[in-house]
């Protein structure tokens, strides 16, 4: 067996070993996360009734308003929680023409408000929307 061929055999073995190792770690990680309830659904299917089956598979199940952070944009929050596109615009009276491509930290900066306050306000507003839609009512 020549040196070059032997080198390629080593390389293929390395790739197989890496793939097996990565797969094993992914399975272990998945089991760990599953055991602590990360993949448990926390939203009722009633909160996403108007989506087509194709879109429903994109709606993350363990969505919790506590996941909201300052780096997120409103467009992302709309997608993450299945909000109507103008819900937050009306709720917070946003006039910025860039809506919904605005980062929460930028909103805090423009309004001269602490980011923690802005995040809490958005958490509360979205939680209210989710409670109302779970109860089968139209949000105000």
């Amino acid at each position: 067996m020549n040196e070059k061929l032997l080198h390629h055999v080593f390389l293929v073995l390395a790739i197989i070993a890496l793939t097996l190792f990565a797969s094993h770690m992914i399975v272990l990680s998945y089991r760990d996360l599953q055991s602590i309830g990360v993949f448990e659904a926390t939203r009722s299917p009633r909160s996403i009734p108007k989506l087509s089956p194709r879109r429903q598979r994109f709606v993350p199940t363990p969505v919790d308003v506590d996941l909201i952070q300052g780096w997120m944009t409103i467009a992302y929050l709309n997608r993450m929680f299945g909000l109507p596109s103008d819900y937050l615009k009306v709720e917070f009276n946003i006039t910025n023409p860039k809506y919904p491509n605005i980062v929460l930290e930028d909103i805090a900066h423009l309004n001269k408000t602490p980011i923690t306050t802005v995040v809490e306000d958005y958490k509360r507003s979205i939680a209210e929307y989710l409670i109302v839609t779970e109860a089968g009512e139209e949000p105000l």
């Binding site: 080198h7 080593f10 790739i15 990565a22 992914i26 467009a75 993450m80």
Partner: protein, 205 residues
């Protein structure tokens, strides 16, 4: 808190999507230590929520990584030695140690290039060394593309499978990176030992 460190990168990704992903991956592959792996993992998570398209995330990340690597390699190959001489480190290039390192890289470039794709901090250094050592472009490109595809798929599919909980898997990725490197080093050492043994036996000149 992870969001404090990479928050600006994530905001950039949410605002400019594939263009932002391409820029972050390219800059990280070229030379700068920015959190590209975490951004890639997050992009997988965003794709699982339908905010980004999975196929375009993969295309943007692989192409940007490969382009960044190749630019680093080509710059080092064309201008590397002249630049090092210009800044006064020319003696380094003529040292015995550098000669040994160069010979080692030329003898075993494949696994070195492939495995360092999983470490965004080590990858640019290997690209530059490969260029300086004169590793053939075809060899570099083949194992760079293979390595980058594996690295991008690992990160993106992990993020995609974990969805909104992607932040919790960064610790796991660190473990993977820390394990992949010793595996790569071990395989390289085995190659070196085998090469020396065969040379000692007179089968290789």
């Amino acid at each position: 808190m992870i969001s404090w460190i990479i928050g600006p990168f994530l905001s950039f990704l949410l605002l400019y999507k594939y263009g932002a992903l391409f820029i972050i991956a390219f800059v990280a592959a070229l030379a700068f230590p920015i959190p590209a792996s975490t951004t890639l993992l997050a992009a997988g998570g965003f794709a699982s929520q339908g905010y980004l398209e999975l196929k375009w995330v993969i295309v943007a990340a692989v192409s940007a990584n490969v382009l960044g690597d190749v630019v680093g390699y080509v710059l080092a190959r064309r201008y590397g030695e002249a630049a090092i001489n210009h800044v006064g480190f020319g003696r380094l290039l003529r040292s015995k140690r550098y000669g040994q390192l160069k010979r080692y890289i030329c003898d075993y470039p494949e696994s070195l290039i492939y495995f360092t794709r999983f470490l965004t901090e080590a990858g640019p250094g290997v690209n530059i060394l490969s260029g300086l050592s004169g590793v053939p472009l075809r060899t570099f490109l083949v194992f760079d593309v293979l390595g980058e595809i594996s690295y991008v798929l690992l990160n993106v599919f992990l993020g995609y499978s974990l969805g909104t909980q992607w932040e919790q898997s960064t610790g796991f990725l660190m473990k993977v990176a820390l394990t992949v490197v010793p595996v790569g080093i071990t395989i390289n050492l085995m190659q070196v030992l085998l090469f020396r043994r065969r040379r000692a036996n007179g089968r290789i000149q």
